[in-house]
Amino acid sequence: MQSKTEASLDKTPALKICESMGQITSDSLIPILQQIQDAYGYLPAEILSEVSKQTGLNANQMYGVATFYEQFHLEPRGRHTIRCCRGTACHVKGGRQIINAIKRKLNIEEGETTEDMQFTFETVACLGACALAPVMVVDGVYYGKMTHRRVGFVLDSLETVEKETT
């Protein structure tokens, strides 16, 4: 097994998850991946290889499933996840500017994570809140009628900003 630059991760949580699954069938795959992601924040290759060894589930299949679903992440994630809408309504209302503002503010591209591991930034085809366009979501909380100036404000004061509900 090729070891990446990162230091070895603690395998104990993974082993516990495998044990808790009982009889492993092909149906166990997605629940295992979800629990591993909950425990580690993402799906580290090293851990998945160990899970494969423990459960007999094949690594190729894990990788196929993990890359198929948006919910799974193979790279470490930032503490906060920012999702920005690029749906039609948001686009018309200047969503592109919001996206650009986030990129400038964090100095990363879509799909990337800041070096200090604070923020991961993604775009989404539609967040389903067109009435509030343009929309961004931080850690599951919706921010509507965004402007590029509010982006800085929200990101700077994640703790204190007043939460808007949809």
Binding site: Q2, G56, A59, N60, Q61, Y63, G64, F68
Partner: protein
């Protein structure tokens, strides 16, 4: 058995069986329904949407590959509606497929290309594909194969064959929709994934998206000429098609046809990527003669003249028994027949043997004693239907990869129970219900303990024992003492695991034993084989389908070389040289005075060279300087022998000692037959022209025979086979015209005989099966204070034997560059050894330097080394102590020590 169903396809009525798809029935009856994602080896998915058909009574078209036939079904495969849909499907595929047919290797074989023509796609759909920018992928830099996503149509056949047939689970689709691509887990480079380089993915790819790297640019599919022949590597005998570019006289790639016997289009890494040796620049092209200590080019006349002169002189001075010959399990049946005939009739001695001595001599000796015939009792195809498979001392996935497919299929698809008894944690363990990790050299204890349990728990087949066997009572006595608890002490296998294994084996309806070198290469090799025969007879598992005792033969034609009498004690067809009647028959047939004395075996020949009783040695296509045990001793003998003839395709380690070297054809240049491990005699056909002045092996032997005054004349290989059929009843019905398309399995007694699928049906070859009481004996050498490890040697998947052939392949070299010794991580830690460190392994006979491979493949206290590598030759270390009956050396057990460098 299954129900017959009548369906109507395109107005004609056909009969199929339940479970067959409409596509199966159509294709079988010559109706071509276009398809891209279909491969008969795989479960249908209906993903390419090309095989859509109209079915009466159904509103929508249906994919015929997933549609099971039903009585009275009326199907139309070509209607205007269907045509239009197919055209659209093809257009959509071409949005993602770069239509660069003019420079594509698959041009002429590509299904997508031919459908594009058939459905007359417009220019606009062929002009531009969605993806053009090449990016690195999992095959980048791999020398075996390459993946081009721009030509991939995402049919999933490569991913499915890797999962369903090869079960290597290396490939997967990643991402979704338009971004879908084939890759390995975590995008690892192919050689770092679980890929075993079988190339099954290439074989099933319907376009040129996956292709042999070395074939690129060497000839398009439409220009290649295919020659069906038999693979030259292992004993499975896969049927391969050598695809040759006639303009270049070069094998461009190797393919195999789905449906062929015995491999159904499947190959392993060596068959697929290991043919570079054929056109290799290091091939011998002229005879060489040693002059002033150096091998120099010579003419055939000079070489043959010198050989005749020396052999005649030595024979007249010291008698015919001072000459010995090593025949070859790599050569054809015809070569072997002519070679042993020359040694026997031309020279007048039975000193002829070959490397079967080093692999399955104990099998031949043991099974002949127990059953009357020393070959695999059943056929390869039967494994997949066995209810229990007991693999002992066979690393099938590495040594016989295509047979391993059948074992995995039996377990995964047909719910067979697999028991693996092996000191190493081989890949098959993953599929096994039980892994019995016995200490090397303790097989008899293990098997006797299993028999003990079976008798104790009354699981034996009394009816079979009573009616079909003899000598049972004495055997019961012999196994009585070996309780599972006692066996646990000897073998280290827990008593309960032994019990469980015994029950599993005994209770199965059909239980098949598979064994190989782990059983045979011991000083107790014959005992080991006899024990397995006992076990099979005890449970009535001989003489029926999907059961039996199945030694997997190593070399491509080791079965044939034995069958054709390249053994010192028997003429062709296992007819004893010491039997007066048979002796007389052969003297008459060959019109020569023959020796009635059993000759020397391989290792004995080298020992006889030491004491001067053998003065000349003729080696055809063998490499004892790397393959034989205790190499220091073997090499000294090669140096010492007065006159050494080496006939080979390369200047092998052994040929370098020779006085005369004769350049021979490789398998791809000759006509003839090989006999595979399931006793199937299969054709070998010429695909390319030989290099330089090389000659066919049997012709060289005939040339020498003529020069020593005993001419043997044959027009061609077919004529030799006719002579074989006339002297060997086993091959009595074999003739080239009968084995053109599919080989026949011996015994094949006459021209109307259909061949024999499995042996000993109704009656054993020797009449009654004979139980042999066998008791456990220690190996010749046990670890001690100075040499604390038990060292075993063996094979690995990527290389073959002494590497003379397989190491010429760049693709294989990239995956398997050099030798190593496997060691348990705890032992390694104790010695301060890390994975990849250079270490010295030594025994009382010699020492080698190699790399440590640290892990859990071997248990503590044991070491394992592959023997393929000349730069760290494992056989420097191995013990040349012999089994008293079979004279096979103990490659599998010797005492060794290690030292970090």
């Amino acid at each position: 058995m299954s129900e017959e169903i009548k369906v109507t396809i395109d107005g004609k009525e056909f009969t199929g069986s339940a479970g067959q798809s409409v596509l199966d029935v159509a294709l079988k009856n010559g109706i071509e329904i276009p398809n891209l994602c279909h491969d008969p080896r795989l479960r249908p998915t209906g993903s390419c949407r090309l095989c859509l058909v109209e079915v009466e009574g159904q509103q929508q078209p249906v994919t015929s590959c997933t549609l099971e036939i039903q009585a009275g079904m009326v199907v139309r495969t070509e209607t205007d509606q269907i045509s239009a849909i197919r055209q659209t499907v093809l257009e959509l595929l071409f949005y993602e497929h770069r239509g660069s047919c003019t420079t594509c290797d698959e041009n002429g074989k590509c299904r997508l290309q031919s459908y594009a023509y058939e459905y007359q796609l417009g220019d606009e759909s062929l002009s531009q594909s969605l993806y053009t920018e090449p990016a690195p992928n999992y095959t980048t830099g791999n020398l075996a194969l390459e993946y081009d996503p721009g030509k991939c149509i995402r049919c999933g056949r490569c991913v499915r064959i890797c999962d369903e047939v090869q079960m290597a689970h290396a490939l997967t689709f990643k991402n979704r929709a338009a971004e879908t691509e084939v890759t390995t887990a975590f995008d690892l480079p192919l050689n770092e994934s679980t890929c075993v380089l079988c190339g099954q993915c290439i074989s099933t790819c319907p376009t040129g998206a996956l292709y042999d790297r070395s074939a690129q640019g060497q000839g398009q599919a439409k220009d290649l000429v295919k020659t069906r022949t038999t693979c030259v590597y292992c004993g499975v005998g896969c049927q391969i098609d050598l695809n040759v570019n006639p303009k270049k006289n070069r094998i461009v790639r190797v393919t195999s046809e789905v449906g062929c016997i015995p491999n159904d289009g499947n190959l392993c890494v060596k068959g697929r990527f290991g043919m570079d040796f054929v056109g290799h620049p290091e091939r011998l092209t002229t005879p060489l003669i040693r002059r002033n200590g150096k091998l120099e080019q010579a003419t055939w006349d000079e070489a043959i003249g010198l050989i005749a002169e020396k052999l005649t002189k030595i024979r007249s001075e010291s008698g015919p028994d001072s000459i010995a010959g090593l025949s070859s399990a790599k050569c054809t049946n015809e070569d072997n027949y002519v070679f042993q005939k020359f040694i026997r009739a031309g020279i007048g001695t039975n000193n002829v043997d070959h490397c079967a001595r080093l692999c399955h001599a104990s099998t031949v000796a043991g099974l002949a004693r127990a059953f009357g015939s020393g070959a695999m009792t059943n056929s390869i195809d039967e494994f997949k239907n066995a209810k229990c498979i007991f693999v002992i001392g066979s690393n099938t996935p590495e040594a016989h990869p295509v047979i391993a497919l059948g074992i995995r299929e039996a377990v995964v698809k047909n719910d067979a129970e697999l028991i693996v008894a092996d000191p190493r944690e081989i890949e098959l363990v993953r599929y096994a219900k039980l892994h019995l990790q016995q200490q090397p050299g303790t097989d008899v204890a293990l098997i006797n303990a299993m028999m003990n349990v079976i008798i104790e728990e009354d699981l034996h087949d009394k009816d079979f024992i009573e009616k079909r066997t003899e000598n049972f009572a004495e055997t019961v006595e012999a196994v009585k003492e070996m309780t599972p608890e006692k066996a646990e002490k000897i073998t280290t296998v827990p008593a309960n695991a032994i019990r469980e294994a015994a029950r599993t084996y005994a209770k199965a309806d059909s239980a098949s034993i598979i064994f190989s070198m782990g059983i045979t290469q011991h000083t107790t090799g014959t005992d080991n084989v006899l024990s397995l025969a006992n076990l099979a007879m005890l449970t009535g598992n001989v003489g029926k389908e999907s059961a039996g005792v199945n030694p997997l033969r190593g070399q491509n034609n080791v079965q044939g070389a034995c069958d054709l009498g390249a053994l010192p004690n028997v003429y062709p067809g296992y007819q004893s040289v010491e039997d007066a009647e048979i002796h007389a028959k052969f003297e008459k047939a060959w019109d020569a005075k023959l020796s009635a004395k059993t000759g020397l075996t391989v290792v004995e020949i080298f020992h006889a060279i030491e004491d001067g009783s053998v003065r000349a040695l003729y080696v055809m296509g063998e490499n004892p300087a790397l393959s034989d045990p205790n190499l220091n001793r073997t090499r000294k003998a090669l140096e010492k022998v007065e006159f050494l003839i080496a006939q080979d395709v390369f200047l092998s380690e052994s040929a370098q000692y020779a006085d005369v070297v004769l350049p021979a054809f490789s398998f791809a240049e000759k006509e003839g037959t090989f006999t595979n491990t399931e006793r199937r005699i299969q054709r070998v056909r010429k695909a390319v022209n030989p290099p330089g002045e090389a000659r066919d092996d049997w012709r060289i032997v005939c040339d020498i025979a003529a020069a020593v005054g005993t001419p043997m004349q044959y027009e061609n290989a077919s004529q030799i086979m006719d002579e074989i059929a006339s002297v060997s009843p086993l091959y009595g019905g074999i003739a080239f015209d009968r084995i053109e398309s599919v080989g026949l399995q011996w015994p094949c007694l006459d021209k109307d005989h259909p061949g024999t699928k499995y042996l000993h049906k109704g009656e054993f070859k020797r009449g009654k099966g004979k139980f042999h009481p066998v008791r456990f004996r220690e190996p010749a050498e046990s670890p001690d204070k100075n040499f604390p490890f038990i060292l075993s040697t063996g094979r690995q998947l990527y290389q073959y034997h002494t590497g003379t052939l397989s190491r010429k392949s760049p693709a294989i070299h990239q995956k398997s560059p050099t030798g190593y010794v496997e060691i348990h991580f705890k032992d390694a830690k104790e010695y301060g050894i890390e994975d990849g460190d250079s270490i010295e392994v030594s025994t009382t006979r010699g020492k080698v330097t190699t790399k440590a491979s640290v892990g859990t493949l071997v248990a503590r206290g044991w070491l394992f080394m592959p023997f393929h590598f000349a730069e760290g030759p494992a056989n420097m270390l191995t013990n040349d102590a012999l089994d008293p009956i079979a004279k096979i050396p103990e490659f599998k057990v010797c005492a060794a020590k290690i030292r970090q460098l």
